[in-house]
């Protein structure tokens, strides 16, 4: 069913379909570059990179989860929780600021993973519950959100969010390094292969003797860790553990992953696509800002329309089960 129809399409159409996000990104950038004089300024480009970095780290974890055929709705809450914990932990120094959020967020990921892999409950509902749980935990440790932990001006931890190299913030490099590592992990390791296999045909993977439950558990742990790390970097960047961030972030991450060509039903996807999806989202937002006169209500209409345009553009025939 996959290949059958694909063969029949003219090749440029198939390029457009497979690389829809990349094509859209290039188009967007070209238009913005010439349409808005400030778009191409180094400062603006650095901002775009930095803005993308946090989401990219989260979307990286989401990519793995989605390729196994799952979904992680808890990332937004876990991200916020990670930030608060990092700011809280920073009073005991750099390591505490980094390890506290990773430990707690990794544990929440583990909880997700165990519930999904061992009990056969739907990932959607498990992670929906942990979305609530993480938010509740966050509120509990901030006395219902009244307390905001700040990171002291001289804390070494601040560097993680605010340090720069060649003008680009450290988070950009962290995100890049993680994405490269993630790409290698996905493409070139046995773990990556079993991620694809679990998503493509779980039962078969089990019969082939792959560690299905472990693979599933691990991707959720990864997603939790990465969301926590993104939260920690955000806290370092914003210099405080802001309690109100991350609401609805899961949808941004999912949208970026899917726009990047990862199949929501699992079994297919790339890290590069996800990075492109994230960049596309940031660029679109930046362009909306450049236009400047857009009513705030129109902004979400435009975002929705863009999302739609990209998914329609790259609609892969593989997703249409009737076309056999």
């Amino acid at each position: 069913m996959t290949v059958e129809t694909r063969v029949r399409r003219a090749s440029w159409v198939s390029v457009l379909q497979r690389q829809g996000a990349a094509v859209a990104l290039v188009l967007m950038v070209v238009v913005a570059w010439f349409g808005f004089p400030r778009f191409g300024s180094p400062d603006n480009l650095r901002d775009i990179a930095l803005q993308s970095a946090f989401l990219a780290v989260i979307a990286l974890g989401m990519t793995f989860v989605i390729i196994t055929g799952g979904i992680d709705l808890s990332v937004g809450s876990v991200y916020a929780l990670g930030g608060v914990l990092a700011a809280y932990g920073s009073q005991w120094g750099f390591l505490a600021a980094l390890l506290l959020p990773l430990a707690v967020c990794g544990a929440i990921g583990l909880l997700n993973g165990l519930l999904v892999a061992r009990t056969g409950m739907a990932p959607f509902i498990v992670t929906l519950a942990t979305l609530l749980f993480a938010r509740g935990l966050l509120l509990a440790i901030t006395s219902e959100g009244a307390t905001t932990y700040r990171i002291a001006d001289d804390s070494a931890f601040l560097e993680l969010g605010r340090g720069t190299l060649l003008g680009f913030g450290y988070p950009v490099f962290v995100a890049l390094a993680l994405c490269v590592a993630g790409g290698v992990l996905l493409r070139r390791t046995a773990f990556g292969q079993s991620v694809f296999a679990v998503g493509g045909a779980e039962h078969s993977a089990l019969l082939m003797g792959l560690p299905v439950a472990r693979t599933k558990t691990l991707v959720y742990v990864m997603s939790g860790l990465l969301s926590g790390l993104a939260g920690a970097m955000t806290a370092a960047y914003l210099q405080s553990g802001v309690t109100v961030i991350g609401v609805g972030l899961e949808l941004d991450a999912i949208a970026a992953v899917v726009i990047g060509g990862t199949l929501l039903t699992g079994g297919m996807g790339t890290v590069l696509g996800t990075v492109i999806g994230v960049a596309l989202r940031t660029v679109i937002q930046n362009v909306i800002n450049q236009i400047g006169t857009l009513d705030s209500n129109y902004q979400s209409v435009v975002s929705g329309a863009f999302l739609l345009a990209v998914v329609v553009l790259q609609r892969s025939p593989a997703k249409d089960p009737d076309r056999r």
Partner: protein, 319 residues
């Protein structure tokens, strides 16, 4: 048979029973808890309040259950509620009936939009409806010029506060829809086709079922039900509030459906379970408020209850 067999059998029976009746048991348990420990719980007014508040979620969840039965999901229901709420004040000048009709048509159009994306363009439901989730509320705000509008038409407001034979209109509607959807699923060709499509779409296509048409229909029904919920919410609030109406409704509705025992993998629709799921989540929320628990505790408790209920109702694989 070896010795431990009877014990194992018993546990399996309990598990089966829980899977089948878990939601109902949970609702019963929560009711008992409240009767015992919550002040002023056993009053007509209180039950009325719970039912009235559960009605919109319940109506949306019924549509959602159908969509989930086809192995889909509709994230746009909240946005559709906003759209339906946004158009009401624009047409209320022509009378309540035209206004409601236009709101439902808005839902129908949104549903058809989703349906075309899913059925004819083959886009995955979660992404297709995500587009409308992102853009739909914005559109509603554009239509309403970003403003909350007070509604004064008494006939229209009756939908939110009126009674028929002592039953609030919204509750009555939810009940009627539940019966209709149950009949639809159990007794009609369309209903059986939905379940078959969710079970095996390729096989359904090859068996000559009108797969695309059925999918289109399902998304349309779901969105129209969401529009009905938007009308009810507007009437109850006596204001059209596109910025907030139906916010996060998609998650509440999906939770109700799944807690009610309908698997997200499609191929099965439990209507009574869905209604009960909506009631359960309503009772949980009410209990937490009535005991004046802080928001953080309430969230954690809800998470635990969702996991517990779904855990009990999950499909076990036999091996």
């Amino acid at each position: 048979m070896t010795a431990p067999a009877p014990a194992r059998f018993d546990r399996r029976r309990t598990a089966r029973w829980l899977q089948e009746y878990g939601v109902y048991a949970a609702v019963a348990a929560l009711l008992l808890f409240n009767i015992a420990f919550t002040a002023n719980f056993l009053t007509v007014g209180n039950f009325r309040t719970q039912l009235v508040q559960a009605a919109p979620v319940c109506i949306v969840a019924l549509g959602m259950a159908l969509v989930i039965g086809t192995e889909g999901v509709d994230l746009s229901v909240g946005a559709v509620m906003a759209l339906s709420a946004a158009v009401i004040p624009l047409y209320l000048g022509y009378g309540p009936l035209p206004a409601v009709a236009v709101a439902l048509v808005a839902g129908l159009v949104a549903g058809a939009f989703n349906g075309v994306l899913v059925a004819y363009l083959g886009i995955q439901p979660i992404v297709a409806t995500l587009a409308l989730l992102v853009g739909g509320r914005g559109l509603a705000l554009v239509i309403a010029d970003g403003q909350l509008v007070q509604v004064h038409d008494p006939t229209f407001l009756w939908l939110g506060s009126g009674d028929v034979l002592g039953v609030p209109v919204g509750v009555l509607l939810a009940g009627v829809f539940a019966v209709v959807v149950a009949l639809l699923v159990g007794r009609t060709t369309f209903g059986r086709q939905i379940v078959a499509i969710g079970g095996n779409r390729v096989a359904s296509t090859l068996a000559g079922l009108p797969v695309k048409r059925a999918l289109l229909g399902v998304y349309a029904i779901c969105a129209v039900l969401a529009a009905v919920a938007g009308v009810l919410a507007t009437a109850r609030l006596s204001a059209s509030d596109p910025a907030d109406v139906g916010l996060l409704m998609e998650l509440s509705a999906i939770t109700a459906v799944v807690v009610g025992g309908t698997p997200l993998t499609g191929g099965r629709v439990r209507v009574l379970g869905t209604v009960t799921g909506a009631l359960l989540m309503q009772l949980v929320a009410a209990t937490l408020i009535k005991h004046d628990l802080p928001y953080s505790t309430a969230q954690v408790a809800q998470a635990a209850i969702i996991v517990g209920a779904v855990y009990a109702a999950r499909e076990r694989s036999s091996r």
